[in-house]
């Protein structure tokens, strides 16, 4: 009885507090519904025409606001190795693992290349249609996850992942620095790009290249996160 009363006071007080806060915010927001105004985004849409990229979000993410994306990659990188730091396990035995059945293994093996292919597609066509490096990279990582779940012996080669990750990270910054030298702005688009090439796989100058690099980076980071999370579970 006592415990029940305690729970209800916590719940009640937090309910009141959050309701008060949200209602205040709500009333202010409802009185000031933002009207459509000419924003930076509209100017960027206009600029988009001479980039040779069909997906305007991609141009904004990779080129116009590419510096944010570099920071985002850095966040992901730090998080990935932080997780590695936390969850590195000393032993590597898979004693407690339940053996997955044959159908699951077969299905996973069949699906694995298809998912990888889809991931690569999403990654490379990011400048022409929906998707891009982040989404494609994560899709590839999900294929890796599938293999981890289904197969007992699947293990990512740490070395390969590390090489990919390092290569992607270095080349991202390097492309930025080349831009600094060639067109005098960090991450500047120094490759030929214009609207006439639109639709070609290599239209848009550095945009698709950077997005593929992002895809490699995100894919390897996410695979490492998945591996760290799952390996931890194998060992206790």
């Amino acid at each position: 009885m006592n415990i029940k009363r305690d729970i209800s006071t916590t719940t009640l007080s937090s309910f009141t507090l959050s309701a008060f806060f949200v209602l205040t915010v709500l009333s202010i927001l409802l009185q000031n519904i933002p009207q459509k105004l000419f924003s930076a985004g509209d100017s960027l849409l206009k600029l988009n025409s001479d980039q040779g990229v069909a997906n305007a979000v991609t141009t904004v993410v990779v080129y116009f606001r590419g510096f944010d994306t570099l920071g985002e990659i850095a966040v992901l990188f730090i998080a990935s190795f932080g997780i590695g730091l936390m969850l590195t396990s000393q032993t590597h035995g898979d004693k407690n693992k339940v053996k997955s059945n044959f159908m699951l293994q077969l299905g996973a093996r069949l699906l694995f290349p298809i998912i990888i292919l889809f991931g690569v597609y999403v990654m490379t066509f990011g400048h022409l249609s929906v998707g891009g490096g982040f989404q494609g990279g994560v899709i590839i990582a999900s294929a890796v996850l599938l293999m981890f779940v289904s197969s007992n012996h699947f293990h990512l080669s740490h070395r390969v992942v590390e090489v990919l990750e390092t290569f992607a990270g270095i080349s991202y910054v390097m492309i930025g620095l080349i831009g600094l030298i060639v067109v005098d702005s960090f991450l500047g688009n120094f490759l030929p790009h214009n609207i006439s090439q639109l639709g070609l796989l290599l239209s848009g100058g550095i945009v698709p290249i950077i997005y593929i690099i992002i895809g490699i980076k995100v894919g390897s980071e996410m695979s490492l996160i998945v591996q760290n999370m799952l390996q931890r579970s194998d060992n206790d």
Binding site: G41, A56, T69, L76, D236
Partner: protein, 129 residues
């Protein structure tokens, strides 16, 4: 009658009102969870819900009825009459960052639980004197 309601709901102002009400409702649920729940997974779920609420609010309010997604397609060959791409790019970034922080937090929590056997925020008192 039904058509009238539908038409009423389709007005731009009404859509924006719905977006504000809905996303702030979601924000309220997240905040309530954050304040009332103590299990570490619940806390992270609450934070995730609050984040999603803010994302929905931003995307929803920057959305204009009748404009298309900001990309060229079969029917659109020039960058006009499109939604603002900057909020999309920002939220894309914010989603990835939010996930990275969440994954890191969970890994801290797992390691902490392994060492101390505590999985609730109110039990965390290693430093109380």
């Amino acid at each position: 009658m039904i058509e009238g309601i539908l038409e009423y709901l389709n007005q731009t102002e009404v859509i924006k009102t719905i977006v504000i009400l809905g996303s702030m409702g979601l924000f309220f649920v997240g905040l309530f969870g954050l304040l009332s729940q103590r299990h570490i997974i619940k806390v992270f779920i609450s934070i995730g819900i609050m984040e999603i609420a803010v994302f929905i609010l931003f995307i929803g309010l920057s959305f204009q009825k009748g404009l298309t997604a900001p990309m060229l397609g079969d029917a659109h060959t020039s960058f006009v009459q499109m939604n603002d791409p900057i909020p999309h790019a920002m939220i894309l970034t914010a989603i990835v960052i939010g996930m990275a922080v969440l994954a890191l937090g969970i890994s801290f929590a797992i390691e902490y639980y392994k060492l101390t056997g505590k999985n609730r925020l109110d039990q965390m008192n290693e430093m109380k004197h």
